[in-house]
């Protein structure tokens, strides 16, 4: 079985699962875990989008 993900879906899947692990392992209580997980997810995806736009601008 072969799965082919494009760059953005691969980054989104990576961000989702990595954020879950970061949230659980880096915080003490459930509320903080959820908040930190969401923060990491937004930062990961935000970083991808920002880098994408930066590369688009550099190419122009």
């Amino acid at each position: 079985m072969t799965i082919t993900l494009n760059h953005f879906s691969a980054a989104a899947v990576f961000a989702l699962f990595t954020s879950i692990v970061f949230g659980i392992t880096h915080r003490e209580n459930t509320r903080d875990m959820v908040r930190y997980g969401l923060y990491c997810f937004v930062m990961f995806l935000g970083g991808v989008l920002a880098a994408g736009w930066a590369m688009w601008l550099l190419r122009k």
Binding site: M1, T2, I3, L5, A10, V13, F17, V21, I24, T25
Partner: protein
């Protein structure tokens, strides 16, 4: 300087080595999330298991390459260290000769990285299970 370090070492109470503080990291390495589950952190354990296993299996499905023990290029050695963190599924992958990598697929390199990251995340989960076992974290 040396004195203050020695004083700190004296002041800090020695952590008692309990059965759980050895068992939880070992089982957590072998099966991602299991170190949390045997300490009755069911939801955390399940989420860790699903996250780490999905990343690793997706990496395999994307035709990523698995690193074997080697003494060659530094990046290959680091790749091996990352992969070996996945524990049981890494051993299973080696035993079945999966993860040979396919240059024909453009996303194969993403797959290789997915598997390395899954192993590294499991190292963090193992450390977390140990901290719960010694009472440093709830």
């Amino acid at each position: 300087m040396a004195n203050s370090t020695a004083e700190k070492a004296k002041a800090a109470p020695a952590e008692p080595v309990s059965m759980m503080s050895v068992l939880a990291p070992a089982i957590g390495w072998l099966i991602p999330g299991a170190g949390h589950m045997i300490q009755k952190r069911w939801i955390r354990g399940l989420l860790l298991f699903v996250s780490i296993m999905t990343l690793f299996v997706l990496g395999l499905a994307m035709q990523g390459r698995i690193y074997k023990a080697n003494g060659g290029d530094i990046l290959d050695i680091l790749g091996f260290i990352g992969d070996v963190g996945a524990g049981g599924i890494y051993i299973l992958t080696l035993a079945n000769d999966w993860g040979q990598g396919a240059i024909a697929f453009a996303t194969a390199d993403y797959g290789t990285k997915f598997m390395i990251v899954a192993g590294l995340l499991n190292f963090i989960a193992v450390a977390d299970a140990y901290h719960i076992a010694i009472g440093k974290k709830k």
